[in-house]
């Protein structure tokens, strides 16, 4: 697993988290800059899913392949579904859904890293 990519995902997720929290505090709906930040995280997650799957195929680590790959590709789904669910209601609650989605990405990312590290 690419450590640089992991940190990029975490860093961009934190930036997006801060943007969402600012929206929540000000009670305003998330605008284009926030969704752009989410899109950047999503692109990184897609790259990670592809590179991670390739890395799994080429490693001799003792990793549960099914679990690892399902984590890799589940993370990719979180933000699109979260954004969709959030946009259906343009209120503070809708914005809070983005917070839930981003925290889920961070949690899954940490878990993904430990899955990879345990096998090493």
């Amino acid at each position: 697993m690419n450590a640089v990519l992991l940190w990029l995902v975490l860093a961009t997720s934190v930036v997006a988290l801060v943007m969402v929290v600012v929206h929540l505090v000000r009670d305003e709906t998330a605008g284009d800059p926030t969704f752009l930040a989410l899109a950047v995280v999503e692109v990184l997650l897609l790259v990670q899913a592809v590179l991670g799957s390739v890395a799994l195929a080429g490693t001799d680590r003792e990793i549960s392949g099914v679990t690892f790959v399902s984590y890799l590709w589940s993370i990719v789904l979180v933000l699109p579904i979260g954004a969709f669910w959030s946009l259906a209601e343009r209120t503070r609650a809708g914005t809070a859904v983005l917070l839930v989605a981003l925290l889920t990405v961070v949690a899954l990312e940490v878990r993904l890293q430990s899955l990879w590290a345990v096998g090493g």
Binding site: W85, E89, A93
Partner: protein, 132 residues
Amino acid sequence: MGELSSGPGRVLVAVYAVFAVAATGRSLVQLGTDADRAPLAYSLSLLAALVYLAATTCLLVGGRRGWWAALVAVVVEAVGVLVVGTLSYVATDLFPDRTVWSHFGQGYGFLPLVLPVAGLVWLRRTSPARSR
């Protein structure tokens, strides 16, 4: 969209959905790979998954029936996390492997303990008896 899944309910549905997927994935992997290792723990993982799926669905469906079904699911969830959480401390031999509810959901930031409380508060606020 129903009244149960808007406002704070929308956030609740999001969190329940995450737990539904997480618990389902966990129990499928556990039961699929090594079911004999910890039958009780894995059955409880499956129960947790079903409870989270039920709660998510009921909140989404809404209405009077959805409300009552959601109440049952959330109460089962609350009892489950308390019983399994306690047992995982006092009867460790029963749980050779973890479930979502082990140690009051420690592996999930204790959210499994907070979630049923949030669910009950939300159901109280949206009670059909109250709106009449």
